[in-house]
């Protein structure tokens, strides 16, 4: 750090310049940064300490149990992962397709603006509302089962679809126009240009957006409650129509048990597991993304 940014005033041959506001603002900005990081670190430490003794191999590989020391997380873990995988399969093609249409095909007009505006609005709709939609549409009208894997995946998938679309649009928009021009100038059709030039270049950005959206999906609880996913299931899901629970649901359920051992130990173990899985998925995805970035 240069001396001038820390000294309150600077002695200079050409006159005095006050740095008081500089310094004050810098400290303020630092404090703002620390509030978030420190509180998160405290929370994580607190939870991690609580989880000690509870988070073991048995916890990860057993079904839930009325006694805290025998309680397990396996069905919820598998349930969450199954839902996640299905969501990725549903939202990726839909999201990228919609983004390509809006960015490359749709002409600028009132209809496109209207659609665009509504997608942005949908990204902000509370998740409980999507739960209600899922209950009415997938469970009620399409009748694909209360709390089934597929109903859960479609409901939460719809919830994150706008986020996937918007981030894919941003990635596509960031592809320099000179690249499209080069392709069209060579006599490429629109499809050839999108397939060979636009999508490869936008892919890292699209994947980042999808990953972040999946990160949001894995923590969603309210829509699952709404479509009547059971808070506790004792077996891992075996098919698309199996009843499924998810990690946050199971944690929520444990937290409502009267025993202190559940409220602190088991819940903490569940939270640590959820966070570790979330971070692992994110890191795997980032590695994949970086590889993509290098090869293009």
């Amino acid at each position: 750090m240069a001396a001038e940014s820390t000294d309150a005033t600077t002695d200079s041959a050409f006159g005095h310049i006050s740095r008081r506001k500089d310094v004050a603002f810098r400290l303020l900005a630092l404090a703002a940064t620390l509030v978030g990081i420190v509180s998160l670190a405290l929370l994580l430490t607190n939870v991690a300490v609580d989880a000690v003794g509870w988070l073991d191999w048995g916890f990860l590989t057993s079904p839930p149990h009325p006694f805290p020391d025998q309680a397990g997380f396996l069905p919820a873990i598998v349930g969450s992962l199954a839902i996640m995988l299905l969501i990725a399969l549903i939202t990726f093609p839909l999201g990228v397709g919609a983004a390509v249409y809006l960015e490359e095909y749709a002409s600028d007009g009132p209809l496109t603006t209207f659609i665009q505006l509504n997608i942005a609005n949908l990204a902000g709709v509370p998740s409980i509302v999507y739960g209600l939609l899922g209950l009415g549409l997938f469970v009620g009208m399409l009748d694909i089962g209360y709390g089934s894997v597929i109903a859960a995946a479609f409901t939460v998938g719809l919830l994150i679809l706008p986020i996937v679309i918007i981030s894919a649009q941003e990635a596509i928009r960031a592809v320099p126009d000179s690249q499209r021009q080069a392709s069209y100038g060579m006599g490429a059709t629109k499809w050839q240009t999108i397939r060979n030039v636009v999508l490869p270049r936008a892919m890292p950005g699209i994947m980042t957006g999808t990953i972040l959206a999946l990160g949001r999906a894995i923590g969603e609880t309210a829509p699952l409650i709404m479509i009547a996913a059971p808070t506790t299931v004792f077996g891992v899901p075996t098919g698309l129509l199996s009843k499924v629970s998810a990690m946050p649901l199971q944690i929520y359920n444990w937290a409502s048990y009267p025993q202190q051992a559940f409220q602190y130990g088991v819940v903490a173990a569940g939270v640590v597991t959820l966070l570790v899985i979330l971070l692992t998925i994110n890191s795997i995805a980032i590695v994949i993304r970086n590889r993509f970035e290098r090869s293009t």
């Binding site: 320099p176 021009q181 069209y184 100038g185 060579m186 006599g187 490429a188 060979n196 270049r201």
Partner: protein
Amino acid sequence: MTPPQMSHSETESAADQPDTTLDSDIVDDGDGPDQRTMMDRTLLEARNLDVYYGDEQALTDVDIEIPEKQVTAVIGPSGCGKSTFLRSINRMNDLVDTARIEGDLLFDGKNVYDDDVDPVALRRKIGMVFQSPNPFPKSIRDNVAYGLKVQGDDENVDEKVETALKRAALWDEVEHQLDESGLELSGGQQQRLCIARAIAPDPEVILMDEPASALDPVATSKIEDLIEELAEDYTVVIVTHNMQQAARISDKTAVFLTGGELVEFDNTNKIFENPDHQRVEDYITGKFG
């Protein structure tokens, strides 16, 4: 404003015939217009071409006949419509929503704005090189082969890539790194790569939009040498800001001045030594622009 837009054939029939014959360097001694017309077959022709972007008129009533296998330079101050003219030849202006074209633009006698012309097919006959090098983030080989790939030509690709790179005077420098990214080349090499990409599918015309404006003098002079060589096989139309460059490399020069008006079109020598228009002379001698 009509007389200045002289096409070549008009020049010939004009009174000062000996003068123009001297300017043309490919000639038979005045053996008559017939043979000359054969040598200078018109490949691209604009008739009363107007281009608008929304309400703004970018080109006004342009008439021009561009001869085959020669270098035609298009010069003029910024905003005079020279890039617009270039982009209306291969219908790249179609990609601009607000662009509107009136008049005719003939390529080999066929109006490219006719309903039965597919702009994608047209662009496969007319290659384009842009102002700043824009290679794809792909290997050198894939960059050059891009046109072949999109045109469904997958025979002897490696051979064609090699030929194109040689013609673009880049082969010796990249021979051993064909699988490395095109983005790792220097700016001048990237531009030659883009030229190789444009000529790989063997188009008839190459359009160049200020291809050397982002390059240093050494790279520029390489590109200039290259352009002169390319004119043996291709019809080259080059937009440039640099008048010395136009004088050095072109056979014909078109001068656009403000308002998208083609003020004078003639042999390059004539334009630079004895233009018919005071405004053209003022522009060329740097009095404005």
